[in-house]
Amino acid sequence: MSVASQDTAIRTGRVMRTLIYLVLLLFTLFYMLPLYVMVVNSVKPLDEITGGGMMNLPQVFTLEPWAKAWSSAQIGVEPTGLSPYFWNSIKMVVPAVAISTVLGALNGYVLTKWRFRYDTIVFGLILFACFIPFQIVLIPMAKMLGLMGLAGTTWGLVLVHVVYGVGFTTLYFRNYYAVFPTELIRAAQIDGAGFFQIFWRILLPSSGPIAVVSIIWQFTNIWNDFLFGASFAGADSQPMTVALNNLVQASHGVKEYNVHFAGAILAALPTLLVYIVAGRYFVRGLMAGSVKG
């Protein structure tokens, strides 16, 4: 990927190439600008920001806003900082991502390798979950969570995210397994492997790229979700996004922009990390099966 590709379809002259790089550079700067503003202002004392000059580099470098955002900023009524909510998010995201990915893989496995009558219709219905707007389900979902005794709990949020995520993960895994050789499944059947043994021993070990796609997709979506968090979380299960909102929207006292910036970066950090660690598998997984090779 990093090697200058020799199979570029169009060969360009030097002038053209310079121009292209220039434009690309411009776009990069444009996209990086907000991050620059956030990072720069999160390490300034507040008076440097209120004194104007958002774009300037800090004259006094301080990590105070970061520490404050993490451990002592006023969130709602408690001066706890974002840290307890960060752990709330982790406790919600990890099981939700794991469960929805495994369920998606199982669905994909059944829909491609254990075909049954009307399986395409079932797949179509599962896909439908991808297209239902969040707002529509808010009230029925609240009712259901109440009935199940999960209202206001982390597990309630996990359930909501799993239900919403399974449509996407099923789509990913179904398409990936559709090109997985069925002869392998048959060979394993003759070897005496059962339904789950085939899944764990044969299929999952070969699902790396698509699992990464599913995990990244689910992780970013669930981590960044605000609506479900704001609607269904209780006081002690609020995720990071809701806490960040409470921090920034606080209606009393001075607006500590540097703390807000630091908090926002903290909230975005895990998704950034996931992309950096697994990003190249993401593209690879999305392209899997599209070209022979």
Binding site: P181, E183, A188, Q189, I190, D191, G192, A193, P205
Partner: protein, 370 residues
């Protein structure tokens, strides 16, 4: 009662019947080849024996145990797939022992069985590698090792050589035959390659359109094909089939066939009962190698017919020269020695071994003689 019995087996998808009342009984140690063009139902039949496809009606029995509805893993069979179907995430060793592991065989026994199979197939150095790092021939061996290690009652092969290049295919063919001779196991082997069928099998089932057209030893299939389909499918180049009229000359039945200029030539039959067809049209089947130059005619044959005909094309192939002429209005190929003096456009004197000729009924296309 055979070792593997297929009784009146039928396969239908919805209302479409793809396999019709197949009856085959395989004896222990037999090498049965199912051969036919694509879509003839041979792979479906194999999958039914394996239990990968359900049987719609009829019975399949292995060692007299009814197999209908029995899970593939409990039939004590092993299968080698066209794509080899090696598990990509496991090493060769793990691939070979996976089946044993799934059947709950203790680790020490698995290792021992793996070593034996690996030694037999000479793949010991590969045991630690992943299938992705193997060549086609090596994968083929591993796939056979995976089948061998189970010590099954019946081996099933689904076109195992069709992914190999021509040279390797011939080598592996010999390997498989050696293996069968050494182990004496019962094998059912599916292929569309008639040469594979002839060389490997102890018996062949030629299939077409979901029917078993003929079941017999390679020699029976080759010399006495049940019908025109079998006659032309088996053998390369294919058997020549030309229109002929039966007549009786000097008390002997003959086939009258038109030469290139339309004039008739009489080819005497070896079978007296062909006289019953006197005056009627038949289809005469002549294998290319039974048409030769006069010197190369089979001395053991009691019935050599002679005809002079014009050569249309010659195709030297090194070991033989294929000569095309027009007989009965059709191109007919003769297989000559490579040093036969043949030139296109020249008239040439051919010898036809009529002992080997086959006659078919043009209406039913089935064999009437011999």
């Amino acid at each position: 009662m055979g070792f593997l019995d297929i009784d009146n087996a039928t396969k239908a998808y919805g209302s479409v019947e793809v396999l019709h009342n197949v009856d085959i009984s395989v004896q222990e140690g037999e090498f049965l080849v199912l051969v036919g063009p694509s879509g003839c139902g041979k792979s479906t039949l194999l999958n039914m024996i394996a239990g990968l496809e359900e049987i719609t009606s009829g019975e399949i029995r292995i060692k007299d145990n009814l197999m209908n509805g029995v899970h593939p893993s409990r039939r004590n069979i092993a299968m080698v797939f066209q794509s080899y179907a090696l598990y990509p995430n496991m090493t060769v060793g793990q691939n070979i022992t996976f089946g044993l592991e799934m059947h709950g065989v203790p680790k020490a026994e698995r290792e021992k069985a793996m070593k034996e199979a690996a030694a037999l197939l000479q793949i010991e150095p590969l045991l630690g590698r992943k299938p992705g790092a193997l060549s086609g021939g090596q994968r083929q061996r591993v796939a056979m090792g995976r089948a061998l290690v189970r010590n099954p009652d019946v081996f099933l092969f689904d076109e195992p050589l069709s992914n190999l290049d021509a040279k390797l295919r011939v080598d592996m063919r010999t390997e498989i035959k050696k293996l069968h001779q050494k182990l004496g196991t019962t094998i059912v082997y599916v292929t569309h390659d008639q040469i594979e069928a002839m060389t490997l099998s102890t018996r062949i089932a030629v299939m077409n359109g979901g029917y078993v057209q003929q079941l017999g030893t390679p020699q029976e299939i080759y010399d006495k094909p049940a019908n025109i389909f079998v006659a032309t499918f088996m053998g390369s180049p294919a058997m020549n089939v030309v229109k002929a009229t039966v007549a009786v000359e000097n008390g002997r039945p003959v086939a009258q066939v038109a030469l290139h200029d339309g004039s008739p030539v009489a080819l005497p039959f070896s079978q007296d009962n062909m006289a019953d067809w006197s005056g009627k049209e038949i289809l005469l089947g002549i294998r290319p190698e039974t048409i030769t130059d006069e010197d190369a005619a089979d001395r053991k044959s009691s019935n050599i017919a002679h005809l002079t005909n014009r050569i249309v094309v010659t195709e030297p192939a090194g070991s033989d020269t294929f000569v095309t002429m027009t007989l009965g209005g059709k191109d007919v190929i003769a297989r000559m020695r490579s040093d036969a003096d043949v030139r296109p456009g020249a008239d040439f004197s051919f010898a036809v071994n009529m002992e080997k000729a086959v006659a078919f009924d043009p209406a039913t296309e089935s064999r009437i003689a011999p």
